[in-house]
Symmetry: C2
Subunit: 356 residues, 2 copies
């Protein structure tokens, strides 16, 4: 792990660039907003740790009423459990006896659950828990699109039988998460997509004789909360936000808490060049957004070119904040989150699950 | 740094996924091809370390006749010098006294040079070398597009005067690298772009009274080598290759040495789902390429969906190699390069400059 780019008390100009910044005021406001809206409904909040990969941010979410965290990879789950998060759902499938063994091992240290959509996964988990002497929660994932999940009541019943037959496995419920609905722009399209997901999930829940249904993301969670079907939501991006999610609703319900800080290393009449490129900010959902008067017009591995639309070009050394297009893979590029209170560093958090 | 995903002697199926694989036969063939073509011309080869961020691969390039490495960030330069690479060019601008100090510090341990395009950078480097008592090489960068660099002989002369006035700085030559030419598909377009770059660089070289011109990448280096202007080339991708560069020329002059290994975690009639998404393979130049009969039809943070065009869907656990669209940012997502000889792991190399 690299040296942190800043320390507590540093001002913006002293931060080594490129760096990942967290606006603590915005982060705290985002937690207050979502948790304040959802907790009174009785629906549980299990924030997705894949967004921040940072146990310290997860601990703050748990302290604000979350039941635990989601992880999207075994490596993330290992980091979260190792850091003391007491309840972790691996909201994804794994395959292979080695990964099953590692998951069974951490189930001895926390409440751990995982999704399945195939009998072989159940068999691998059953063998691993038997060997480790631990208990894993299991959720049957319902197909909501073209990714993982089962589509029929018959498949669900078969999986449930095998789960019930394994002493180390406990059937906890159903996962129904529709990723592709999160960024549908018209609110009606998101509602229709989640209604369709509910129609697929309800019969499977009923056939399995369970009540727990987990799913939902930052783009759709109010719909799942209002549905009466979901008992737990898994939003991740709400604490950080990004340019893509900001287009879902105007004004966005959450504040932009995450920025990538670059510094001007070359300045010209019509443009400035920053020392932050797509090794510092992910472009899988489009380029980052620059401050007013500047527009990204080129991005390469270590550079972002900002065309000057308005005003004089910034001087060499000037630090400039970019809003990432997509928060999750951007965080995964950094070892440290520099937590700011205004323009002063308050704390620096390790992105412990980076690359995991 | 995470635990390595494999160890020497492991077979393909035992590698923890997702993982970054290097085909050593292809890597060695690529070095033999480019170095064999270029060394007899007398033009120096300074491979770009931003492609692999791995000192061990750099040492093998130097052992095969390279004069040293390029780095694209200060952090990369620090890692390469720290790992014993004796000659490193930071082929980029830096800004700010802290970065200048760090660069001057490593100049006491290796031959180190850096690019400039502004008098303030020269002043910062002059102050830092004076303080450290070291000597830095300096190259004046020529603007070839919209990124960094100066455009006029007058600017070059002014920079040269300030470089000559600083006891710790040595004017080494000119950098003229046209990144935007590397992926122009028609060979004639690449030739025209490099001819234009030469027209910009030659008068600046002459005005500065230097002979050394460095630049060129994997997509254009034969043109620069043949030009008579360039004395050093900076190709990076040639040792690894990616799907984007493979489209430049059919058949590609270099073999695909880099793959991302995923494993089937969900299988369906029409598709399989891998445990490798855009946190394991960069999509800034398009999706990865799958083996024959499979086509990527969706990619998210931790998943790639492969539509089955031909044959039966692969079974759960099956390892599948993907060819990254862009090698540099893909390598930057991984802590380890698993070096394979055929389907058996020979060595595992740390990506020491990952995130640097």
């Amino acid at each position: 792990m690299r040296a942190p780019p800043a320390g507590p008390g540093d001002e913006l100009g002293a931060i080594d660039t490129p760096a990942l910044l967290l606006d603590l005021d915005a982060f705290e406001a985002n937690i207050a907003r979502l948790h304040g809206d959802v907790l009174p409904t009785g629906v549980a909040i299990r924030p997705h740790g894949k967004a921040h990969k940072c146990p310290e941010l997860g601990r703050r979410q748990v302290a604000a009423g979350a039941v635990g965290l989601c992880a999207q990879s075994l490596g993330e789950a290992e980091v979260f459990v190792g850091a003391g998060i007491g309840d972790v759902l691996l909201s994804n499938e794994i395959a292979g006896p080695d990964k099953a063994r590692r998951l069974a091992a951490i189930a001895g240290r926390a409440t751990v659950a995982v999704c399945v959509d195939h009998p072989l996964q159940v068999a691998e988990l059953a063998a691993a828990t038997a060997e480790a002497g631990t208990t894993l929660g299991v959720l049957v994932e319902v197909a909501t699109g073209r990714r993982c999940g089962i589509g029929t009541v018959e498949e669900a019943r078969r999986l449930a039988e095998e789960i019930h037959a394994a002493p180390g496995l406990e059937l906890r419920g159903v996962q129904a998460y529709m990723g592709s609905a999160q960024h549908l722009r018209p609110p009606g399209d998101r509602e229709a997509a989640i209604a369709e997901t509910a129609e697929r999930a309800a019969p499977i829940r009923d056939a399995l004789g369970v009540t727990h249904v987990t799913g939902a993301g930052t783009g759709t969670y109010p719909i799942e909360v209002a549905s009466g079907l979901w008992t737990e939501i898994q939003p991740g991006s709400y604490v950080l936000m990004d340019a893509d999610y900001a287009q879902n609703q105007q004004p966005p319900p959450f504040r932009q808490a995450l920025h990538v800080l670059g510094r001007v290393i070359s300045t010209h009449d019509d443009r400035v060049v920053l020392d932050a490129g797509h090794k510092a900010v992910s472009v899988d959902r489009g380029p980052p957004v620059a401050p007013p008067g500047l527009e990204p017009s080129g991005i390469s591995d270590e550079h972002t070119i900002l065309t000057v639309l308005d005003g004089a070009p910034a001087a060499l050394r000037t630090p400039i904040r970019l809003v990432p297009g997509h928060c999750d893979p951007t965080v995964n590029l950094h070892d440290w989150i520099v937590a700011m209170r205004g323009d002063v560093v308050e704390e620096v958090f390790a992105v412990e699950a980076r690359g995991a």
